[in-house]
Structure formats: C-alpha cells, structure tokens
C-alpha cells in the first residue's frame, strides 16, 4: 500500500509544483506585461491622466502680449491698446507660430515663457488666409513643442488645448477632434470657391487669449494651432463646444515658406467650381461655374460649364484638393488641365499666376 501510494503522490505533487511555479511566474511577470503595452481591458493601477502630455508640451506654449499705439487726428495724446494671445515655440532657433490676428498691425510684441522669462519678439512674416504668423525670439535653452511629421489626426482623437485665456495664466482644456477638413472659415478670396485651409474642429474649450496656442494629442505632439476668431464667423454669440484650429502640417508648411521667403506665395488659376459627379464619364471632378475673364484659366480657353477631372497629372476628387494643387504651384509654372466640354475630352495648358496680383 505504501509503495502504491508513492507514485500517485508523486504524480500529484509534480504537476502541482509545476502549476504553482507557472502561477508564480505569471503573477510575477504580469504587472510588467501590462505596463509594456496598452491593454484596454486591464485598468492601469495609476488612473489615466494627461499630465505626461501636458509636461511635454506646455513649456513650449508661450503667452503673447502686444501693444499698438494709435493717434487719431483729433486725439490729444496717443492711445495704446493691448492684445492678448498665445504662441508655440517650434524650434530651438526661437521661431514661434501664432495667429496673425494676434500680432498684425501692432507696434510691440512681447513673449512670456512659462519659466518666467519675458522678452521682445520680432515678426518674421504672416499669412492672412490661414491667420498664421511667425515670430522670432532671441533666447537660449528654449523648450520646443514635440512634433511628429507623420501625425494622423482622426475624428475622435483626444486633444488638449494649451494657452492663456483672458490672461488667467496657462490653461489646459481637453476635448476630442469633432471634424477634420473644415474649409471656408478663412476669408474667401479669388481662385476656387472655398477657403485656403482645412481646419480642425474640436470641442476643447478655447477663449480669447487662446489664439495661436497649441493643440496637442495625448502624447503631447502638436496637432494644430488654435484660433478663436473663426468661431465668431459661424455664430454671433458665444458658442460652446465648437472651436477650430489650423492643422499642424498646414501650419508647418506656411511657417517654412514664411521663414524662407518672408511671405506665402500662392498660385492662382481664376475659376470658381463645385464638386461634381460626371455620370456620362463615370468620374468625379469639378464643374466650372465661373471664370475670371482676365485669369489664367480663361486665357488658356477654359469656359463655364467645363468639367475638370485632372490638374497637373493628379485626378481631382474635391474642390479643396484642386485648390491645394493650384495654391502650391509657383506662379509662372504651367499646369496641364484635363477636362470634358460636354462629352468631348479636352486639354489646356494653364500658366499659373500669383494669387493677389490680379484681383
């Protein structure tokens, strides 16, 4: 009996020990495993917080104070008016992105860093159509906003708006991206029918003083440049839950142009068009509703009622896309435009002119 029980006990003990060993290993390793990657099903022992993202991004967001001195013909003495905004330090050379309406037409610009430094800033250049401006400050050890050139912004992404509303001091608000590609908010000018930038719409609250500040994602990477002035264009009274920002990639392109050329030069084609689906040809494109009689398109023979489906070798899906291709073409260059007049396929060589020259 004794001998018979032995192998049985052995049989039981061996896997039991193995099992306990496995259990111990799993328990020991599990916390590390869960901290290695995102595990939505297991709650993190530390409650979720954006403090890390705020720590990475917020030092690079500055307060901007501007002063303009005005003296009318009947004013006994000059009056000074102060304006408030925010800005984002984009690189260690001291280039700062902000909103054009914060700094346009002012006599003095001062920048306050979050470490307490206060200094004068120079206006490098600005772009009215996207309401962006580039400043430069001369300082060492500047905190730079984290940037990701491949950033993809999707509806539903969590965003944090960082700025200085009402000069309360730096403030972080949270929301999500409500929509992307919101066009037509900037001033409508010439060219194709819509505006010149595709804005981000979000529900993170921004207020006066937030303009020019940073919109970052949950990793602290720059997603856009906040702008309060567009909000007032969609509603007269204070709206809540609908705010806008210029997307990062557009803002960076504009900034690079301003830094290299001092201005943003856009191509002009001189047509007004709307998105259209051509059932005869079974393709998408733009239907011309008006042409500028002195514009490049008219000179190349394009008429009202023509259906454009390709510009510069790219199939055209939307008005914004066509607008971008034209706007980014250097004035003087030629774009091949393919279109149908009724059912006849046609081609025109359009010499792009400079936006702002012919209106």
């Amino acid at each position: 009996m004794k001998k018979a029980s032995h192998p049985l006990i052995q049989l039981i003990i061996k896997p039991a020990l193995m099992g306990l060993l496995v259990a111990a290993t799993v328990i020991g390793v599990l916390p590390f495993v869960s901290s290695l990657g995102p595990q939505p099903h297991v709650a993190d022992p530390q409650p979720a917080s954006y403090a890390q993202a705020v720590n990475r991004a917020s030092p690079a967001v500055v307060n901007i104070y501007t002063e303009s001195i005005r003296q009318g013909p009947f004013d006994p003495r000059p009056r000074s008016s102060l304006r408030l905004g925010s800005g984002v330090i984009m690189d260690s050379r001291g280039f700062i992105l902000t909103a054009d309406h914060v700094v346009s037409g002012v006599d003095e610009i001062r920048v306050a860093l979050q470490d307490g430094r206060l200094m004068g800033a120079q206006l490098v250049g600005s772009d009215r159509l996207t309401d962006l401006a580039v400043l430069r400050i001369d300082a060492d050890n500047l905190p730079v906003i984290p940037q990701n050139n491949d950033i993809q912004t999707r509806v539903g992404d969590v965003v944090l708006a960082i700025g200085n509303p009402y000069n309360l001091g730096q403030t972080v608000t949270q929301g999500i991206i409500s929509a992307t590609g919101r066009a037509g908010l900037a001033e409508r000018t010439g060219g194709l029918s819509s505006g010149y930038s595709d804005f981000l719409q979000m529900d993170a609250a921004i207020n006066e003083g937030n303009s020019g500040g940073a919109l970052v994602n949950s990793r602290g990477e720059l997603v856009g440049i906040n702008n309060v002035s567009f909000q007032s264009q969609i509603a007269n009274r204070a709206t809540t839950g609908i705010y806008f920002a210029v997307p990062y990639r557009l803002a960076r392109r504009i900034m690079q142009q301003i830094i290299s050329d001092g201005v943003v030069v856009r191509g002009y084609i001189g047509i007004t068009a709307e998105q259209h689906y051509n059932t005869n040809q079974d393709i998408r494109g733009l239907l011309i509703s008006a042409v500028d009689p002195q514009g490049p398109a008219a000179n190349a023979g394009i008429q009202v009622g023509d259906f454009i489906y390709e510009i510069g070798g790219e199939p055209i899906q939307s008005v914004n896309q066509g607008l971008d291709i034209v706007a980014e073409t250097r004035p003087g260059e030629v774009l091949d435009v393919l279109f149908y007049r009724d059912v006849r396929p046609m081609q025109a060589r359009v010499r792009i002119s400079r936006l702002g020259d012919n209106q």
């Binding site: 049989l11 039981i12 896997p15 039991a16 193995m18 099992g19 306990l20 496995v22 259990a23 799993v26 328990i27 599990l30 939505p40 099903h41 297991v42 709650a43 993190d44 022992p45 409650p47 979720a48 917080s49 954006y50 403090a51 890390q52 993202a53 705020v54 720590n55 917020s58 470490d115 307490g116 430094r117 206060l118 944090l160 509303p165 009402y166 309360l168 001091g169 730096q170 403030t171 972080v172 608000t173 949270q174 993170a204 609250a205 921004i206 207020n207 204070a238 809540t240």
Partner: protein
C-alpha cells in the same frame, strides 16, 4: 492524467483571478466590451453629493429720495430698508455620514433661514449652519437627525497635476444631479477678489449655476475640490474653479473645533516673485512669494523670517505666488506649526513657524458673551490685548470696558496675546476676573458667569 492536469490549472486560475480582482478595484473601469466607463465609480460617489435648497430674507437698502425729506421734514429716515424673501439652489457634499456634516459654499447658504438637503435617493432633511467663512466661500452644515447617509472619501488635492481627469457632480440650474467630466486645467489660481483667500483648481469640466458647493472628484472617486465659481457671464465657457479639498478640510477642522474659522496669520507683506525681482535678488527661480515687509511681533518675525526672503514652499508643497501663500497659510488655522521653504541670499533653508491668530479680526464676543461689542487687537511687545473699540450700550460697555483699555491678565494669569486670552477664557470655569490697564492705573472687571 488529463483530469489531473485540469485540476492543477485551478490553483493557477485562482491566483490569476485574485490579481485581476485587485486591479478591478481601480475605479477607472471598463465595461464588458472593454470600453472605459466612469459609471462604477460614480455609482459609489454620487449618493454623497446632495442638492441644497434655501429660503431666506435679504435686506435691501435704498436711499430715500430727497423729495421725502421735503415732505416729511429733516427727521424722515435717510434709508429705506426692505426685506425681500428669496429662494436659492446649490449643491453640497456629505463628508461625515454619521454626524451628517455637509460641505457647501458660503454663497449658497448666505442669508438663508431655512436649508433643505435633498439626497440623490429623494430623501429630504433640514440642516443648519455650523460655521462659514466668507473669505474662502466655505460653509459647513449639519443635517438634522441623519440616518443612512453616504459620505465621500476626501482625497489629497495637493497631489493633483495639470492634465489629471476630474469629474464634477452637482445640481446645475436645479435640473437634478448632473455629472460632467474634464481635466485639471491649472492649479493655484487666485487673485480674483482682493479680500478673498483663493487657491483654486481650474477645470474645464462644465460647471454652471447650481453646481456651487458640489463635488470635484478624481477617477478614484475621491473628493479633490468643492466647485465654486466660473469665468463667463452666461454660463460655462470651459473655465471653472474649485476650492482644493485640503484647504476645505483645514477650514472644516477649525469650524468643528472652534465653531468658527480661526485664520492663521504669518505676518508678512509682499508680492509675487517676478523675473525682474529674481534677477535683482539673483535667484534662479521665478515662482514664489517675495516678502517685502515682516510685521512687528508677527509669527514670521518670531520665527526669524526677514524682508527679502522668498517663500517657495509650505510643508513641502510648492508655492507659486504670494496669493497662493496667503490662501494656504490663511486657511490652516491659528496655532498650526508649518515648515516654510525659504530662499535667502540664494541659499535654500527651512524655517518652522507657528501661525498666530488674525488679531485685528478678533471679535471679543466669540470668546465670552459678556465681552460682546468689543474689538480686540494685540498690544505691542506682548504687553496684553488692546480694546480697539467698544460699541455704546453693548454688554462689554455695560461691563465697564472702554476703548484703549489693555487686558493684561485673567484670574491672576498674565495675558500676552489674543490667542492666549481666548485660551484662558475657554479654560476658565465660573466667574472671571479680568485685569485691565487703563492709562496709568489698573482695575479688575468681573465677567458674570
């Protein structure tokens, strides 16, 4: 064999599940689909947040038009006072279920004669004010005959960081209990009212009229603030303010101990440390409270704090501005010992300070009923307590106290400060003989029992 194997998997399983149970206690839970939800945490917390409705009368004063005097002569009243009934709504937080203590804002219960607390489950209780403080906007209520209440867990508001999730619970516009979420937008906000002590947590969680006095909780459901104010006239614009739970707790402790808030006073004047000031003082940091003047015989002077010092922390917590220092110290309570982090001549040091009572504010009535109508302040060099004023016909006046009298003793014990006088009066049973110096002579006044 396979049966045995499956058996041995069980201890493995049990141990594993005990791990996940431990983690499931973290309140940021996910629902069955793995989507994050606040619902389990809120189910625990929301019963501790109550609606408060008040009724009362507010006295409005109106200057009489000149024409009245023309008709009724020079003896016509100059002012017309009118009592107007009002009703108000707000929120509150149960912090002690057994005793029925509810915290709310002072402005919610100001001038109220009737206070009704409505729980989430619909039960209604009447409540009375135990103590309130205008400068911080905190009030403590007690529910009459409390039973089966749920109290909130009070968290450590000093541990909150900008970017942390928060949830506001309250009764906006009297709609009924409402939960809104957001993050901590900023810390240490203040300076809105010059008379106030403010050290707000700023949040973008939507707070509206009626949310006042309600709870701001973290993701664990711990109370970290009392929602108090918003910026913006019409309603929420994403900028709301909450009194930190630690500050609230200090005030509640004082109210429970003394029946009133006994503010601690450091006895310094100063301002915020600015870049220019930091450059001039050769300090590398630009955040802190700069001391420009140390008041004679104050707590700071006794502890050795000097003009030109920069105070950068209180009990190890960073101080960003003079406003924050004033709010922190001003809510800690007289007699409290604190350790201040100080930078002097570029050198960091710690200085222990015992906070004193705000002497100028001491109304004698809070010490002894027979002293009602007298105002007290400290006499210099710990020489006693000076009577700064006595209302004509008040109990203190009938007792024989006059302005500029100096109380130097109680029942043969020397009195050097207001807080000492208070302590002696509190601890003395029966008749009190007060030793008073008037000019060159001294006299005894006997306070009735």
């Amino acid at each position: 064999m396979s049966k045995l194997k499956s058996l041995f998997l069980i201890p493995c399983f049990i141990l594993l599940s005990s791990v996940s149970v431990a983690q499931a206690q973290i309140p940021l839970a996910t629902n069955s689909d793995g989507v994050p939800t606040l619902a389990p945490m809120l189910e625990e917390v929301t019963p501790a947040v109550v609606n408060i409705s008040v009724e009362g009368k507010r006295v409005t004063r109106q200057r009489m038009p000149e024409a009245f005097r023309f008709f009724f002569g020079p003896n016509a009243p100059q002012e017309e006072t009118r009592e107007q009934p009002f009703r108000g709504l707000g929120s509150g937080v149960i912090i002690d279920a057994e005793a029925g203590y509810v915290v709310t804002n002072n402005h919610v219960i100001d001038d109220a004669t009737d206070i009704t607390v409505t729980l989430k489950d619909g039960r209604q209780f009447s409540a009375r004010v135990l103590g309130r403080d205008e400068q911080t906007d905190v009030a403590l209520l007690k529910i009459d005959n409390p039973r089966d209440l749920t109290a909130i867990q009070i968290g450590n508001s000093d541990a909150m960081r900008v970017g942390d999730f928060v949830v506001a619970i309250g009764n906006p516009f009297g709609l009924g209990q409402t939960v809104t979420s957001g993050i901590v937008s900023a810390l240490g906000r203040g300076g809105f009212g010059p008379e106030r002590l403010e050290n707000f947590i700023q949040t973008d969680a939507a707070i509206n009229s009626g949310n006042s006095g309600g709870a701001l909780v973290d993701l664990r459901g711990n109370l970290i603030g009392i929602n108090t104010a918003i910026l913006g006239r019409g309603g929420n614009i994403g900028i709301g303010f909450a009194i930190p739970a630690n500050m609230m707790k200090n005030l509640v402790d004082q109210i429970l101990e003394f029946g009133e808030v006994r503010r601690g006073v450091l006895g310094v004047r100063g301002g915020n440390l600015t870049q220019e000031l930091a450059d001039a003082l050769d300090i590398s940091r630009t955040r802190g409270a700069w001391v420009s003047e140390v008041l004679a015989d104050g707590a700071a002077e006794r502890a050795g704090i000097q003009a030109g010092d920069v105070i950068v922390s209180v009990d190890g917590n960073d101080i960003q501005s003079f406003t924050e220092l004033a709010a922190t110290v001003g809510t800690m309570g007289a007699g409290r010992k604190v350790t201040l982090g100080v930078i002097r001549d570029g050198e960091a040091m710690n200085i222990d300070v015992e906070l004193l009572e705000r002497e100028a504010e001491a109304a004698a009535a809070t010490m002894h009923a027979a002293l009602q109508g007298a105002q007290l302040s400290a006499e210099g060099n710990n020489q006693g307590v000076r009577i700064t004023s006595v209302d004509e016909g008040s109990p203190a006046h009938r007792l024989g106290l006059r302005a500029d009298d100096i109380i130097i003793g109680v029942n043969r014990q020397r009195v050097s400060s207001v807080s000492e006088l208070r302590r002696l009066l509190d601890n003395t049973q029966g008749v009190v003989a007060m030793h008073v110096r008037r000019g060159q002579s001294t006299l005894y006044l006997v306070l009735p029992n």
